[in-house]
Symmetry: C2
Subunit: 580 residues, 2 copies
């Protein structure tokens, strides 16, 4: 393609609302243009990258036996009523009415529709397994859309749904997708990591996320450098890191006027923060038989964590009865503990307060906590002697240096951007929508489902967050809008330059290389800056002076110096750079 | 691909609501599944055809210099406010509110968004011409969606928009698109016709439609068998077909008790229907300065047409002052003409009624019309002698046998399905949205636009309406879901059949033929019926008996008999059938 035949829309400045580098660079490179909050036009250069990402995904999905279909963007509310999501989902599900005042939604995903397809079309176990996918625009009415394509409202997503006759089948389908995802992200040329994720109901290894590694990533990824272990922070298992010791100190109350943080209390008496325990008061509201809130009757729970640890709410929610917990308010805390937050502790509580401890706290001795009296803390606290042993669970976020759950080393944490998710759904939707099949004994059973998403437009942003420099985007060759740009200097003035550039262009095209020829007649500086911003992997500069010496210049996007090659060698030099 | 790897969803019966053959066959062939009124899932076989149609369109659009981009499905209401369409368009424009109660619309087309792109990105005449297109889902909230993909609510459309500096440029861009459309429809392998259409404001040759010819088409297409002339009925020019004669009869009133139709009156006195004139009373409401309707003050117009002719409202609306005409009501007619509809005529009217005549009526003599007295008509009516000559215009639909406007013969009428439209928009949107560019003198001017649509999903329906038989769809090879199907008889039982079928499958794939192997183990009758219904152009039957004689059977979808060919010849025989 020639540059005059496409829409090169590079900008010197990024828009004021572009907070992150991918948003800035996608706008400056002319890939996207904002048309409303979280709603973008994908301009020709941007669409080329989208299509390349889609093509790789499509090939690998087909290769893995999935079948592509297309579900509507506007979906009937009845189906979402059946699954319960029409009522349960928050306002990010955009509900609309048609001219006859019927309910519709704009699809954020398509579990309901695909389950409807399955219940209509899948009759027998003989048809299974089946995996249906689509690559389609989605809509989520984010409260505060931002970060360009990273948190847009309308975006492109590949969503796939597998149907199996039992859990073993589902796990096999899941494995296939997991493998396909690895192939996809490898082909995309990105540094990525598959990490264990939490999936609520099914638990265990039933859900994994694929993250593009980037310093600017919004998610913390926990991994073991010596093994395959990786997890998102919510799901990473923590164990006790407190060596079991016997208590030696006496229980002692001491004055801590105005000090409400463990760090301050530890500093006051010059002990390590790891010797302190913080008490977090949570509440679980109670309801009567007709589901009305019973005011003032919330069940109170004291959660104990070591002073330097952080509560992992996802883990806490999984404990029986705590799924709908909330933080207790000041009045509740005062009434229950007789002190304000920051001075509370687990000793001498009434029976109606449950105490639960993180595993690490359960192994501590001679610890420090609030005295349930404002301005006072206790030290030398020991289990059994001073208070009953609390039930202990894994309730905290892991931290760097924690032992890896697989026993193969200690954990590190890096940042990632979630771009894919594979998930064992089980029978949640098939039971709600009565999507049954007949098994080999002729018995009706609910289909066992998995779902698998990849954020196509988000991937563009993630790739850029990972691969860029001060001059612009650095595309992996597999998804670059063009593989090579030919930059002729004085294309509009020198016949020799024009002829050489045109010939090279033709030769590259014939060799199957996606090349763009900059025939705009721009000055070299502006021309080079444009293509570095857009991020084309290889640049070939054709200038009169070099030509007279028999050379053109070939330079990779991240290379500091250009390589002088003869015209005969140009094609091979370019091919070599593209296959590195 | 193998049949067990895709979703073959053939049905014996069509759904009850499928009124037309394409809807029936697309459903029975498993191409689409309805999920709501006018909203469909495109199943794997259907999506394959969509992708092929899209690929042909995309190649030809790119070849013609258009640039692909992607505009959002959900579009900000502000832009539609600027163009005025947010208020003016009917309820087929689905207006929605986001969580912040802001206005959005689901795009039925994208004039507003693309004009917004243009005003932001096009600064100078040097950037022109530019043509931007997208292939995207669209939404029109049809009051009564039906006919499957022919009148759906969510559908896929290719919409392109050209930007030029002047009308000459626009016409050149329009010509390019017109040529590209011919290439597209030829490559699609369909019998089609480009016809002149009405485009309101710009007139003349400023708008053409592309119709797929089909007996079941909903539009009448007027054409001249001896020339290139073709038009839709609204836009086809009619001339006078009444020979100029001198009046011989006297004006005479005669009794026509209860007769209100020209045909009945003509029969009563035994004259040709072509001797009668019907008078149609129309009204144009008047408004005061603050745009309030002035009741009872509608301007009345009597429109004269020959008794056997039909009013063309599109032509009538183009006359000065008549754009917003409506049919007069009975009370208005009685007050103005002193008689009821069916007995009114153009004689002896008060000055405040304008009389206009179709060209044919203007050339008539000794004609018959209502007497403005219930139960009476006049005969022997002649212009000038009995009433002043009325202004005459082309106001009627053409009929079969009318002279072609190009003078090359007489007109025929056939039925067509509109699948494409090219349209000279001019500056309607660029002026409304202030999309200006600087011309070579540095002067700001509005961009001159054209717009060009192709209904992608509608094309599937139109192709099927044109090409089907009692057994199912007959796809043109260019857009068939697969070019060839291999049907092995007893694939699951005969090793010889299985090996031969597998080998042929591999050979076809290697030759670049899109082949599907039916490995389902179905019985021959059911297997053949499925692929005839789905409409695969060529079938290769591999059976043990023929194989032992050294043959396989190759048969085109519309051929009555199969051809026996040796295994060596099979590939060539198939290729030959596909290139016919």
């Amino acid at each position: 393609m020639k540059a005059t035949q496409t829409f090169i829309l590079t900008l010197k400045e990024a828009p004021a609302d572009a907070e992150i580098v991918s948003h800035q660079l996608m706008t400056r490179a002319g890939m996207i243009r904002k048309i409303g909050a979280g709603i973008y036009n994908y301009m020709p250069i941007g669409l080329r990258v989208i299509r390349k990402v889609e093509a790789i995904i499509r090939e690998e999905m087909n290769q893995a036996g999935a079948m592509e279909m297309l579900m509507p963007f506007v979906q009937p509310g009845e189906l979402w009523e059946e699954s319960g999501r029409l009522r349960k989902m928050g306002p990010e599900l955009l509900r609309i009415k048609d001219r006859h005042d019927r309910d519709f939604v704009l699809q954020p995903t398509s579990e309901e529709v695909v389950t409807d397809v399955a219940r209509n079309e899948i009759k027998s176990y003989k048809q299974l397994p089946i995996n249906l996918y689509q690559i389609q625009s989605k809509f989520r009415d984010e409260r505060r859309p931002r970060f360009g394509v990273m948190r847009g409202r309308e975006f492109i997503m590949k969503d796939a749904y597998s149907f199996d006759q039992d859990e073993a089948g589902m796990r096999a389908s899941y494995e296939k997708m997991f493998t396909a995802y690895h192939r996809i992200f490898k082909r995309l040329g990105l540094n990525y990591r598959a990490v264990d994720a939490d999936n609520g109901a099914i638990g265990g290894s039933g859900s994994q996320e694929f993250h593009v590694i980037a310093l600017t990533g919004e998610d913390a990824i926990v991994y073991c450098p010596n093994s395959e272990y990786a997890s998102n922070l919510e799901a990473a298992a923590a164990c006790s890191v407190q060596p079991l010791t016997l208590g030696k100190e006496e229980l002692q109350k001491f004055s801590t006027p105005g000090l409400t943080k463990c760090a301050d209390v530890a500093k006051l008496i010059d002990v390590a923060l790891t010797q302190t325990v913080k008490t977090i008061a949570i509440a679980v509201d109670q309801f009567d038989e007709s589901n009305q809130l019973l005011p003032g009757s919330a069940k109170m729970v004291a959660v104990l964590l070591r002073g330097d640890h952080e509560l992992n709410e996802v883990k806490l929610k999984k404990l029986p009865g705590l799924h709908d917990f909330r933080m207790a308010n000041e009045a509740e805390i005062l009434a229950t503990f007789g002190a304000s937050p920051g001075s509370i502790g687990p000793l001498n509580l009434t029976a109606n307060v449950e105490v639960i401890a993180d595993l690490t706290v359960a192994d501590m001795a001679d610890w420090i906590c609030g005295a349930n009296e404002n301005g006072f803390h206790l030290r030398g606290v020991n289990w059994e002697r001073d208070l009953p042993r609390a039930k202990a669970y894994d309730l905290r976020n892991v931290v760097v240096g924690d032992p890896s759950p697989d026993g193969k080393g200690t954990l590190e944490i890096c940042r990632g951007i979630e771009v894919g998710h594979v998930f064992m759904l089980g029978t949640k939707y098939s039971e709600a929508l009565k999507a049954n099949f007949l098994d080999e004994h002729g018995k009706a059973k609910p289909l066992v489902m998995g779902c698998y998403g990849i954020g196509v437009t988000r991937l563009l942003g993630a790739a850029i967050e990972q691969c860029h420099d001060a001059r612009g985007i650095i595309w992996p060759a597999s998804i670059a809008p063009f593989a090579v740009v030919i930059c002729p200097v004085s294309y509009d003035k020198s016949d020799l330059v024009k002829k050489t550039a045109d010939d090279l262009y033709t030769a590259f095209l014939q060799a199957g290389i996606e090349v763009i020829l900059d025939d705009r007649g721009e000055r070299p500086g502006a021309m080079f800056a444009d293509w570095e911003l857009i991020g084309i992997p290889v640049r070939v500069v054709v200038g009169e002076r070099s030509l007279k010496e028999g050379f053109v210049e070939v330079q990779g996007r991240v290379e500091v110096e250009a390589q002088q090659v003869t015209l005969d060698q140009a094609l091979m030099a370019v091919q070599k750079k593209l296959t590195i």
